[in-house]
């Protein structure tokens, strides 16, 4: 334990780092020394040690681990787990050691395969030589010797290359379990055992029944080991998405403390720290920009490929890449609370869940292996009783084939491996799927209801039109309006100022400024008197211009808000401000419609505004004037209507029933806060995330990027994943359902066809590799509308 004194400890009560030498107090708990920053912490700990040493991982405490661990970890008996927990699981280091282990395992299995294959060749040649007429006679005379030699030659293959099957089978057997090991061990073991008995006691077997199957035992071992090696390699790829994500975590951060810049490990960044990020570097944790401007590529988290412009006050997401300028930011979320850590955690959870479609397999798989064993026994009996001579040979061959061809792995792998790849893939597009059930339901959505504000639109007003009158140029008009509005805090005024900045208009200071509540602003600029505001302000100022009023009315038809500008008592022009539609909303709606999903819009706004937005994005059905608390009710009504359309509703309103009955399913897309009840009511709730809120409770699916494109991607990726699962399940079921009877010899009476156990072994190895490979195809999935949406 001497290293313990140099190791930093964490006060389990307050979470501070404590060096043992400078610790104010210490206690003994569960055989470990616990260090405290102050006497108060010790007092609290001693009063209730189990509370602070409790194991709830969500708790911002510490844990005492008394379990045996490798020596290096044992020293850190007490560790703070709240901050690093989710990422610690998926840290690059853990990944690396896991990759390493997997690579080692692969190499080992390949060695086992090469050895088995090397032995199989001469054994196979000896067995085949019997079929060469000129060799047959001399070989038959030495049959016993050859058999004996083969037995000795093949035993090491069974012991070394196939040892894990026998060990696994035995371990399973003692637990009253049976798995693939059981089948392989039974198959190869009985082939070898029977052949050895024949070799040792040849004369007890009548002429013609002295078949030996040493070749079967080694070749099956070789093939199955090869299959497992390929499978393990392919499996390691299926987790690639999440590994990629977790590797994006920066290792260090440049923190400014008391004016001193220094690099610290990312685990030592605390909330409130000021962090410096230079161009080209990754943002280490989540935070809010203090100083500096830059374009930040957030594609790893949001799936959005265009870098986002960031200014002081904007949020930055850990793991995004800073492109252009240096900036400092205040850390707001660190460790396990960062968006990235929560995404990784959420994806992991989803990958571990089970979609309803997998339940049938679960039911089947627990009965599968014993059933195959029974089938093998019955096959033997039937061949023995009714088969042609030599019955013993046919019985043995058919039984071996049945044992070896059955592949429980393909069945067991079919669902989870596709789910793993599919959920990971979705995360790459900024689509976080909560669990397998959400994925399955999303794949079957018929209707999607989109909230308007913040979902279809950007959720904040923007300057859309500038229309100048008389001698004013548009630039002049905009400049004057922006300068006048500069000091106003009204959202519409802010929209004008933002719009002017975006159009590179230089905004000076007004000489005088006055806000007129409910009307607009009044300012003196370059000696001129400028007023910007609504129609009421214009009539108060006695400025009237039929032309500007005509334009204003046209803007209103488009759902925009008009702002009049007057200079020195004369109308100068009209500006229009609107909650603009997101650039890709229309394309996303089109993509959904193309997939056969009906798209509706729901909003609290009036019909006129709602219609105009709906027109812009191509939606025809609009539910307008719906107050927020009524949205859930509207979704429910839609579900009822869908039920009525597809079949008679039995009045049950709970979603589980609907999903099972194959009713038309309704998805709702909203912001996750105001729309939470509606999201929960819908069969699938999509929350549009903004910035760093990634795990939204009410949502089944979170769209991190804030783009509607995510809805289309989510539906598409879910469909692709479900299709993949079905292919896998179908393939695995069909494979076993056809393979086992064929191996048992069902084709023999008609076609005289009996499968060699060697072929059976090859088929079984191929089937599980096929399932994994098919699932990995999902890695190449691309949402089909991506190009169109990006433009």
């Amino acid at each position: 334990m001497e290293a313990a004194t140099t190791k930093k400890h964490v006060d389990p009560v307050c979470g501070m780092s404590v060096a043992p030498a400078s610790a104010a107090a210490r206690s003994e708990f569960a055989g470990e020394t616990v260090y405290f920053c102050c006497a108060g912490c010790k007092q609290r700990f001693d009063a209730e040690p189990s509370r602070f040493a409790a194991v709830e991982s969500s708790d911002e405490r510490a844990r005492v681990s008394a379990r045996p661990m490798p020596a290096t970890q044992n020293l850190v008996g007490i560790q703070r787990i709240a901050r690093p927990s989710p990422v610690a699981n998926a840290s690059p280091l853990a990944n690396a050691s896991r990759d390493e282990a997997q690579a080692r395992e692969y190499r080992m299995m390949m060695r086992k395969f090469v050895f088995a294959a090397a032995v199989a060749v001469p054994v196979l040649l000896l067995m085949l030589a019997e079929y060469v007429p000129s060799l047959r006679e001399p070989l038959m005379r030495r049959q016993q010797l050859i058999g004996f030699a083969s037995a000795v030659l093949t035993l090491p293959v069974l012991v070394w290359s196939g040892g894990q099957f026998f060990a696994g089978a035995w371990n399973n057997f003692r637990n009253h379990n049976a798995n693939m090991d059981t089948l392989v061990a039974l198959g190869t073991g009985s082939a070898w055992g029977y052949s050895t008995v024949v070799a040792l006691a040849t004369r007890f077997f009548p002429e013609g029944t002295r078949g030996m199957y040493f070749d079967v035992s080694v070749i099956v071992v070789a093939l199955v080991v090869l299959g497992q090696a390929l499978e393990s390699r392919a499996k390691s790829r299926s987790g690639a998405a999440i590994r990629k994500l977790s590797e994006l975590q920066s290792r260090t951060a440049r923190v400014i403390r008391r004016g001193v810049e220094r690099d610290v490990p990312v685990e030592d960044v605390f909330v409130g720290d000021t962090v410096l990020v230079r161009p080209g570097e990754r943002v280490p944790v989540d935070g809010v920009i203090l100083e500096g401007e830059s374009a930040v590529d957030e594609s790893v988290v949001t799936g959005e490929s265009v870098p986002a412009d960031k200014r002081p006050g904007d949020q930055v997401i850990g793991s995004s890449v800073n492109r252009t300028g240096a900036f400092t930011f205040r850390a707001t979320k660190v460790g396990g609370d960062t968006a990235l850590a929560r995404i990784v955690e959420m994806v992991r959870r989803a990958q571990s869940s089970k979609p309803p479609i997998g339940r049938l397999v679960d039911a089947v798989s627990s009965y599968f292996v014993p059933s195959v064993m029974i089938a093998a026994v019955l096959t033997f009996v039937v061949w023995f009783d009714f088969g042609p001579q030599p019955v013993l040979n046919y019985s043995i061959v058919a039984m071996l084939a049945v044992l070896v061809i059955a592949c429980p792995c393909a069945l067991g792998l079919a669902t989870p491996i596709s789910l793993m790849v599919g959920v990971g893939k979705a995360a790459e597009f900024g689509v976080l799927i909560r669990n397998g059930e959400a994925l399955e339901t999303a794949s079957r959505l018929n209707v999607v209801v989109l909230d308007k504000t913040g979902t279809i639109t950007k959720g904040r007003p923007e300057l859309t039109d500038v229309s100048a009158l008389g001698d004013f140029s548009e630039a002049d008009l905009l400049r004057l309006a922006a300068v006048a509005d500069r000091r106003s805090e009204h959202p519409l005024a802010e929209a004008i100022v933002r719009g002017a900045r975006a159009r590179n208009v230089e905004i000076g200071e007004p000489e005088e400024f006055k806000a007129i509540p409910g009307h607009g602003v009044e300012a003196r600029i370059e000696g001129r008197r400028v007023v910007v505001g609504n129609a009421r302000l214009m009539s108060r100022e006695k400025v009237s211009s039929p032309e500007s009023e005509a334009r204003a009315s046209r803007y209103a038809d488009d759902g925009k808000t008009a702002m009049f500008v007057a200079v020195d008592g004369h109308a100068a022009g009209v500006l229009a401000v609107a909650d603009a539609v997101k650039e890709d909303s229309a394309a996303a709606v089109r993509a959904l419609q193309k997939m056969g999903v009906e798209v509706l819009m729901i909003t609290g706004d009036n019909e006129r505004t709602a219609r105009s937005i709906a027109r812009q994005v191509g939606i025809t059905r609009v539910l307008a004037d719906v107050p927020p608390e009524e949205k859930a009710r509207q979704v429910e009504l839609l579900q009822r209507a869908c039920d009525a359309a597809s079949e008679k509703s039995d009045g049950r309103k709970k979603n589980a029933g609907r999903k099972r009955r194959g009713a038309r399913l309704v998805g709702m897309v909203g912001d996750g806060i105001n729309d939470a009840p509606a999201l929960a009511q819908a069969d699938v709730g999509f929350a549009i995330g903004t910035g760093t809120d990634v795990a939204i409770e009410a949502a089944d699916i979170t769209l991190v990027g804030g783009s509607l494109r995510g809805v289309a991607s989510a539906v598409e990726v879910s469909r692709a994943t479900l299709r993949n699962i079905k292919q896998n399940l179908f393939g695995a079921f069909i494979y076993n359902a056809l393979g086992i009877p064929v191996a048992a010899g069902i084709l023999y009476p008609v076609f005289g066809l009996l499968l060699s156990p060697v072929i059976a072994g090859a088929a079984m190895a191929a089937s599980s590799v096929t399932v994994v490979t098919n699932a990995n195809r999902l890695r190449f999935f691309e949402p089909s509308k991506a190009e169109e949406v990006k433009r």
Partner: protein
């Protein structure tokens, strides 16, 4: 049907009956989790051809810590999944990996290997 055929048939059916009884009609023993004061209820689970113990009695509403140790080279058990809790853990051979869950409601919560071949359950009451 000659004597040999009769013998093989009877033996075969006997084996079938035995398989059914041994694999399907076997009930493992249930182990009760040890509670550590107000902390978690802790159970050590060995993964070796299955879970030992495979049936664990716990109190609902309190955290449960399952210390899994995989004591076999076979890769079947290398992944343990607790679907009701959305937890999945990789179990390197001969290393103890703790999985912590809180069964909020009384009931049965399954845990299985990655391919659903090994099965165990928490019985919360």
């Amino acid at each position: 049907m000659n004597a040999a055929q009769l013998a093989v048939t009877i033996a075969g059916l006997a084996v079938v009956a035995w398989i059914v009884r041994y694999f399907w009609f076997w009930k493992g023993e249930t182990v009760k989790a040890q509670a550590e004061g107000r902390g978690a209820q802790v159970v050590d689970v060995t993964v070796k051809g299955g879970y030992q113990p495979a049936s664990i009695m716990v109190r609902a509403g309190r955290p449960v810590r399952l210390n899994f140790t995989r004591r076999e080279a076979s890769t079947c058990g290398e992944e343990v999944v607790l679907p009701s809790f959305g937890k999945r853990a990789h179990l390197p051979q001969d290393e103890t990996v703790s999985v912590e869950v809180v069964p909020a409601e009384p009931g049965e919560y399954e845990f299985t290997c990655g391919m659903n071949m090994y099965r165990g359950k928490l019985i919360a009451e």
